[in-house]
Amino acid sequence: MATLSADFELPLRSFDLRLALEVERTVALVGPSGAGKSSVLRAIAGLVRAKGRIALDDEVWLGPGIDRSPDERRVGLVFQEYALFPHLSVRGNVAYGGKARVDELLERFRVAHLTDARPRELSGGERQRVALARALARDPGVLLLDEPLAALDAHTKAAVRGELQELLAELGLPTLIVTHDYEDAAALAETVGVLVDGELRQLGTPRELVSQPADPFVASFTGANLLHGAVELHDDGVTRVRLASGELVYSTDRADGEVGVVVYPWDVSIGRVHADDSAMNLLRGEVASVAHVGNRVRVRVGPLTAEVTETSAERLDLTVGTRVYASFKATGTRLVPLGGSERIRPQQPASSALSGR
């Protein structure tokens, strides 16, 4: 299996992009918009001029005295908006990359019946399949996918995500995906990197990012609740944190000073009555919103988002304004130091509510 190694710098408008990465199977870079994600792909494809080293195995694309042009780097880049040639038919688009396997690819991506159609006549999902077929027709050594699911509607997205998973496994190419959606990244890649302001904050398996987030941003990006507070004392393996809102929270993690308390929505339970359990953290509040996501229900209580099953949401008769208790175990929390990373205060979904109260 081939390996793409990239170690380069690229000055962007408001910061420098710096990245060192080895891609052997599938790596996804997640980050907010403007983090420099697309620029990573463009630098690897040679569409923007970076400084450093980019190589596919021992084939050097960028290095001292070497800067191959995009057509000399064997990349299959699928653009976010697909960038199909509007003046060419589906077949013309795919054949542009390489004529050898056109029919096979049209079949493989289920667009054989659309051979003569123009890109503007296609649905979003069809466009994406044509873009993938076109990129693969070039017989690339590396696959680069820019926000492969962002341009699709929610209904198509789930199906395409599954198809992409299968395709990537089948191709066995080093693949780099960039996306703003952590869930997509976790579903498609074995390794996920969090990119903020052109800097790789953490690189690990999706499980590692959730269980050991390196900083508050990574935590909030993986979908965790983040409560700001200060450590008051350690006692018998338990750390007591006084939240900015005044309430007390206990964690089995050890930390000092200003901390972010990380709790995942699926570790938060909702109850109507006060559960008298000392191992539980308890926050009381009104239900601010109830949102159905698949067969789960996301409930917002004060600064917390909880994810509960549909049945329990019905049993509790949760509606906006209901007074409930949100509880989570001390063992279900992580403490991450806030320290110097204060300036990258995460936006969504958890922290903002607290500061406002």
Binding site: P70, D71, G76, L77, E81, A83, F85, H87, A135
Partner: protein
């Protein structure tokens, strides 16, 4: 209040009608003065056929040159960002606003025997070609810049990542996508070049069968035989109208893929 509104509305309608009539009247007059049969008869006179040949020949050569040299210039100005780009574009546009007499003077200053380049071009058919190219190319280049700028950079980048070099990318992707915008620019340039008068008469003179184009022949004939002049005028009206119609068709060709700003109102 309501009554005042009615009066204002009525006045506006009258003003609009006057403006429309004013614009239509001179064109209509050309066709109303001489009957169609007479027009055709006038067109067979020697002065007219000579002028027609000179106009056609010089226009075709001039526009071929405009396409050949103007297209790379437009692409260069559309795809590169450099210091002084705005200044260069302004220089390219300058001949558009230059008084034709000044354009003719400038061409003489550059190409006459005593001029900057010291050539024997003035008062030859080549001079007509140069005068036409000089005044009409800015229209093409300007429109060409807009057409090239409207091509999605991602589509160009996609071509490169698919293994196509800059040349293949230009001919297979950029040019086809800019095509309708370029055609519109060329139609404008052609129309402008066909009507060229001032710069041509100063730089090339008005020698029948050599440098006398249709507009120059009209000017000469209207003192001698007004009907012949009118016939040539009618011919130019028809050609200009055809160019304008072509332009509108080109600009509305692919409404989903706007490759140029609209210089004219769309007919539909």
């Amino acid at each position: 209040m309501r009554r005042r509104g009615l009066i204002v509305g009525g006045l506006a309608a009258v003003a609009a009608a006057v403006a429309l009539a004013f614009l239509v009247l001179p064109v209509a007059a050309i066709f109303l003065r001489v009957p169609p049969g007479g027009l055709l008869h006038q067109l067979s006179s020697g002065v007219v056929t000579d002028a027609l040949v000179v106009s056609a020949k010089t226009s075709v050569i001039a526009q071929a040159l405009v396409l050949l040299f103007g297209t790379p210039l437009a692409y260069f100005l559309a795809s590169r960002r450099f210091r002084g780009r705005a200044f260069v574009i302004t220089l390219v546009e300058l001949p558009l606003v230059l008084p034709p007499a000044v354009a003719g003077l400038g061409l003489l200053a550059a190409f006459s025997r005593a001029g900057l380049l010291g050539t024997s071009i003035p008062f030859t058919q080549t001079a007509v070609v140069l005068a036409v190219a000089f005044v009409s190319s800015p229209l093409y280049v300007r429109q060409g810049i807009a057409a090239f700028e409207a091509v999605d950079p991602d589509v160009v980048a996609a071509s490169r990542t698919l293994g196509a070099g800059p040349t293949k990318t230009f001919f297979r992707v950029v040019l086809p996508l800019a095509r309708s915008g370029l055609a519109a620019g060329e139609a404008l340039a052609f129309a402008r070049g066909l009507g060229e008068f001032g710069a041509t008469i100063m730089f090339a003179g008005s020698l029948q069968g050599v440098t006398q184009t249709l507009p120059l022949a009209i000017y000469e004939q209207f003192a001698v035989n007004l009907d012949t002049a009118i016939a040539m005028g009618a011919l130019l009206v028809v050609v200009s109208a055809a160019l304008l119609a072509f332009l509108k068709v080109v600009l509305t060709w692919q409404p989903s893929r706007r490759t140029s700003s609209f210089l004219f109102a769309r007919s539909t």
